[in-house]
Amino acid sequence: MNPVNYLYLAALLFTIGAAGVLIRRNAIVLFMCVELMLNACNLAFVTFSRMHGNLDGQIIAFFTMVVAAAEVVVGLAIIVSVFRARHSASVDDASLMKL
């Protein structure tokens, strides 16, 4: 087996995540799909790091994880405050910028 298969898997997971972002309405599930896409990118980075034989790809994947953690914290805080104002976590209901 060639490590290229990891890249195919990463592409597949990224595609599934992107389709989920387009299909789902629940804001929390949307966020999970974004996380899935970020993870797929990380897998691609780690695989490329192995193929090239240096650790730079792993460093980038590490920074991606940090950014993903920050993004989840802020995003979930936004979801919670929107839910408090509207009693719904559906992205269809939040059609106005103001409450």
Binding site: L12, R25, V46, L55, V67, L76, I79
Partner: protein, 315 residues
């Protein structure tokens, strides 16, 4: 030696191939479950499974530090944060199947398919026949190699990451913080207000008084046998989770318990009939009478004395 480690190879070990094909299936099933499950909790659990599989792949690819970080940060922290928010927002909230844009789901699936084909075609066209492997890069230890890079070449990005994290922490606190518009009443002020308005000056009655159970959802009974609604927690009252304590409901419950006791064979050596050498039938009669009586006894405080009497009758 180092030239041998750096030499390009084109295949991995058979063990890794087997591991890949098994775990990749699990990962794809988990990803599909994430987007297809209707309830957010199920989505979160499927995604957690996919992330654990990815951690194993990181380990297999020589990224030992990232594999552990993936489990600790993603499955341990981020997914649990997701689950907390799902609990806050409501576990039962399922996605609606109503389409606001006609045919949007099918178009989205089609777009996803096309995008996937495009990505895979791109990878297939690249000349990736051989790979170097991390043997040389990891020779001094994976963590040491990463640390050397982070604190030399990427030190500026690392510093910026710190600023990003502290901003995210402050942002989360600002977004979820709610200012209190008025001071909370102290206990003394609440008591004074109760006396002034004249409603329910003494403490509220306790649940379960004179009833068959002392659970919080069982209302206390007034002297005439009617349930006192005030004795049940307002939250339970609002949800309609107050237990029915009418004589009929209690008699049904007692009959059910008696049947289950007989089914389990407990009636022969039950607490009430244990002292007597009589047959199982007599004990059962006493038990039945006792249950029936305590069901009626719920209507008044005198119920506690009746079991002894009924046992005497059954003898």
């Amino acid at each position: 030696m180092s030239s041998m480690l750096a030499a390009a190879t084109s295949t991995t070990s058979t063990g890794e191939a087997v591991q890949f094909w098994i775990l990749a299936t699990v990962a794809v099933i988990g990803a599909l479950g994430t987007i297809l499950m209707r309830k957010a909790v199920h989505s979160a659990l499927c995604l957690a499974g996919t992330m654990i599989v990815l951690a194993v792949f990181y380990l297999a690819n020589g990224a030992y530090f990232l594999g552990v970080v993936q489990i600790v940060v993603y499955t341990g922290a981020i997914m649990m944060l997701f689950l907390f928010v799902v609990m806050l927002v409501g576990v039962t909230a399922a996605d609606s199947l109503k389409e606001t844009l006609k045919g949007q789901r099918w178009l989205a699936a089609l777009c996803g398919l096309g995008f996937g084909i495009l990505l895979c075609a791109g990878i297939g066209n690249a000349s990736l026949k051989s790979f170097n492997g991390l043997g040389q890069a990891n020779s001094g230890g994976n963590v040491e190699g990463l640390a050397t890079l982070i604190f030399t070449k990427y030190v500026f990005a690392f510093e910026i990451t710190g600023a990003l994290l502290i901003t995210a922490a402050v942002g989360a606190m600002v977004l979820t913080h709610r200012e209190r518009t008025e001071r909370a009443l102290s206990q003394r002020e609440q008591a004074e207000r109760r006396v002034r308005t004249g409603t329910q000056v003494p403490p509220l009655p306790a649940p379960g008084v004179y009833a068959r159970h002392n659970a919080v959802d069982v209302p206390g009974l007034l002297p005439d046998g009617t349930p006192a609604e005030l004795s049940v927690n307002p939250t339970l009252r609002g949800r309609g989770q107050m237990r029915d304590v009418s004589g009929k409901a209690l008699a049904q419950l007692a009959a059910l318990e008696q049947r289950s006791a007989r089914w389990l064979g407990r009636d022969a050596k039950g607490g009430k009939g244990a002292g007597r050498p009589g047959g199982a039938k007599g004990a059962e009669g006493a038990e039945g009478a006792d249950r029936h009586d305590s069901a009626n006894g719920a209507a008044g405080p005198g119920g506690a004395d009746h079991p002894e009497d009924s046992k005497g009758v059954a003898k």
